[in-house]
Symmetry: C2
Subunit: 383 residues, 2 copies
């Protein structure tokens, strides 16, 4: 029976007993946990070959095709330890106890699963930077996984020993997945240009920001690869936006709420494009945790909101920007040739000091990879 999944589910505890109730089956495990499973849920998750297509491991059964009051005729625990359900329409389903436990939705199981979610390690100026060797990441899957977990959980990493050839980012990004293209290209070159279409392509400083806040989905990862850095100035500074958001929540809760609740517009225009996105600076997920930071002061449209709210919003916005400059949050380092930054662009804000383009060459290349691709690659490497 092909369960539509590429994982195996260890037997945490065998099934001790099972009994049907009005709209489902109640299971008691050998370790004492009790889990209810509703009839429609069980029927929907039947793993048999008629319900799931073995080749694609995708469901062909559709739960809307059985009566909503489908009944259990008999429920037993099989010799092989599976939960066996006979349905009133003649269909039979058998569920592996490891799989069933991994998907149980009693309160204890839900809480256990919630607690097991990876948590972000917030950091401030004293960050111990995760550094990896480019060659090891390219050749060794264990090192690759270690690096990607640091990207996911710390959000700022560095690789050393990177070839100083243009395009070296392409095979590296391919170790994760395809590159996310933007109007700036598949790879973008960061150097001072006379006819710049972005402040990034000038020599002046860039305040702490996330890239492409004008897109509905900001790029998940950003790579910045140093080919040459002989100009005076141009240090990189990073702050953990999640750490700042948390400090703001504690130190100025009203300002925090305004930044979470007020959508503001980001805009980026040039001769060929006109990108706009309206979203809050701090986005929360459904459980109230910070999911992302969206901020680039130089890509903001004029604020539009109820006039009563405007002055308070400005104070909250200024407060956040002032916090990004506080030494307690700032991690500063000069990137040298053959090194690269890889960071979570939806969490970690980055900045560049002004540099003197007359004092020497400075050439970086960058690219983006989406968060979906990072998480998928981690899950595959962990199989």
């Amino acid at each position: 029976n092909a369960i539509a999944d590429y994982r195996t589910f260890p037997l945490i505890s065998p099934l001790a007993s099972a009994a049907s109730f009005a709209s489902g089956v109640s299971v008691t495990w050998a370790d004492g946990r009790v889990s209810p499973f509703h009839n429609l849920w069980l029927r929907d998750n039947c793993p048999c070959g008629d319900c799931v297509y073995e080749v694609t491991r995708e469901q062909v059964f559709l739960v809307a095709d059985v009566p909503e009051d489908i009944q259990v005729q008999a429920v037993t625990i099989g010799d092989d330890g599976r939960l066996v359900v006979q349905w009133d329409d003649g269909h039979a389903s058998a569920y592996h106890p490891g799989w069933l436990r991994a998907h149980a939705y009693d309160a204890q199981s839900l809480a256990e699963r919630e607690a097991a979610r990876p948590h972000k390690h917030r950091w401030m100026q004293g960050l111990s930077l995760p550094v990896y060797d480019h060659g090891a990441v390219m050749q060794d899957d264990d090192t690759l996984l270690e690096w990607l977990l640091a990207v996911r959980d710390v959000g700022l990493t560095q690789l050393h020993g990177v070839p100083t050839e243009p395009g070296a980012l392409i095979p590296l990004a391919k170790r994760i997945s395809f590159i996310r293209e933007s109007n700036f290209g598949v790879l973008f070159d960061v150097r001072s240009k006379a006819d710049a279409d972005s402040n990034a392509y000038t020599a002046f400083n860039l305040p702490l920001h996330t890239d492409l806040p004008t897109r509905e989905l900001q790029p998940g990862l950003q790579f910045l690869h140093c080919l040459v850095n002989d100009a005076t100035g141009g240090n990189s500074t990073f702050v953990d936006g999640f750490a700042i958001a948390e400090a703001l929540r504690i130190e100025a809760p009203a300002a925090y709420r305004l930044l979470c609740e007020t959508p503001v517009e980001f805009r980026n225009k040039d001769r060929h494009s006109d990108y706009r996105c309206t979203a809050p600076v701090i986005a929360l997920d459904s459980s109230g945790e910070v999911r992302e930071i969206r901020l680039a002061n130089f890509l903001r449209a004029p604020f539009q909101m109820d006039a009563q709210r405007m002055p308070d919003y400005y104070l909250a916005y200024r407060r956040f920007i002032q916090m990004t400059r506080e030494p307690r949050f700032c991690f500063t380092r000069r990137l040298e040739a053959g090194q690269l930054w890889c960071f979570d662009n939806r969490r970690v804000l980055h900045a560049r000091d002004a540099f003197d383009p007359a004092s020497g060459d400075r050439h970086f290349q960058g690219c983006y990879v989406d968060r979906d691709e990072l998480l998928s690659r981690i899950l595959v490497l962990q199989r």
Copy 2:
């Protein structure tokens, strides 16, 4: 003075008078409207060459760099009709009355702007399908714009006269922007395959669904291009998910709320990838309007939620799926060689009848383009 914008702002009404108040400037227009502008807002939006870099049209001034209680020393209306503000720190700013009116945030101006937002044309089985000629779209920007507006506002369009060459989608998509790559490729081929890694690549029917609900950002547009369709069966059916959501809201409000409020997990796994996304089937924007539909029954993980909620959620989920099958919503048409569908994949659900692979060849190619790119292209074409 370079305002950081590529649009011109017509003079809707000249300025009649201006007076400062404690924390801002109140403007009265010739047509009687009164608009308050706060000091920080005005200072933040100064368009002068010191505050905005003319080449990139991006702001270099940062509002956090002036005192929060910055004061207006004098405010006048210049001979050229601009609002001129002298600041207490010696800086001076001048604002064009067309620009100022377009960005005013008094209640009337905000309501006016809200009313001008493009609205979606919901449709049911009687849709008058927008059809365009491929050659005209490729050569003529006016036809291109007309087609893209139909994609944005109707969500389902067809092009005729498309070359039946593989890869013909690439130059067409380029009329909008770059293609969004996925694990299925830049272009994907839809035909029956023995070793399919998706139910799409089989000959059986696919129920109404959106593509890639396992990604945080579902692709905005989907193209499906018919190269050959000689097999029996395989008709395309479409429904407007926004029309169904609206009907559900009226006919079963409790079910509607459950689908809006309950995040469920979508999963897509194969040997090389493992994508997961947890989000509600119906997503609302900040003003409570439906923003997107996310649904592919064959890519669902087992539902996980509070056991009290599970049976009601199943009834709501079944109800939505049953509605997608109701004839009142279904628009069905067979796609012939040299035609293509282009539709809003975050709104319009699509389905395919089973076909008989022994009865003849069936070969489609598809690709995705993100919504950000569509909207940017429309704005540039409208300049």
